[in-house]
Symmetry: C2
Subunit: 158 residues, 2 copies
Amino acid sequence: MDNPKDIRPGEVAIALPAAFDAGVYFIGHIRTPFKSRAECPKNTAESDAIGRVELDPRYAAGLEDLALYSHVHLLYWMDQARRDLIQQVPAHLGRPRGTFALRSPVRPNPIALATVELVGIAGTALTVRNVDCIDGTPLLDIKPYFASIDSFPNARRP
Amino acid sequence: MDNPKDIRPGEVAIALPAAFDAGVYFIGHIRTPFKSRAECPKNTAESDAIGRVELDPRYAAGLEDLALYSHVHLLYWMDQARRDLIQQVPAHLGRPRGTFALRSPVRPNPIALATVELVGIAGTALTVRNVDCIDGTPLLDIKPYFASIDSFPNARRP
């Protein structure tokens, strides 16, 4: 996927380190209606889609009390994204912007953060609303959403 | 660190998979006033501390335009946390709760999400407010905070 030819004018690729520093487990997968990157909504705010988070049964006990929350963070692994672009040219912007100033899947560690509404839990499957990722995306973590530490309605952006 | 003896009554440990599914790079480190877990604030809402995010110079170009944002998400690797507890007994709760219903550092993939105020950027160092992690914590990612997709002030919690 890290084909140097797949780069837009103005984008910047870097050499990544020779070795990883730590390893992650895929703890489940996210089922969504989107079969390709082209079908995915731009972000969770532009999606009403219902998704299903299928947790590996090994981790079932970890869901205890999660239903007490209305929203959860999903951390997932964007396994189709290249990792070596440090500046990217988003179509909506038309000029380069730093990878850390973008929510693009393309980043050194392709970990996405998506906050979704928790609709229900049955066994090891969560039904959630507002998913935006490709069907089958590997899951890394589920965290409860705490407005006290996660919500900044007046945060400034360009 | 995964010493079976370091477990509270009611906590549940599981066998983790034999191999990792993907690897992460430590892209920098977070410098904070907190030299041990005991010194760390409970969360970012209980911290006014100023921290310094030191990005590896390899990734410098990724910061372009980040200063346009008032808040950023930091994803960091809690390298002192065990990964095998799937139910935990937080001191404030006094009974077991599922790991995915807690923001505890202890989880299969010890990736923390902390949203901090971006005070300034100089070279490859970010000055941020509200840090809660141990000095030297490895950094995985920086993302801009978008109120449109990240802020849910009315999210329900127990």
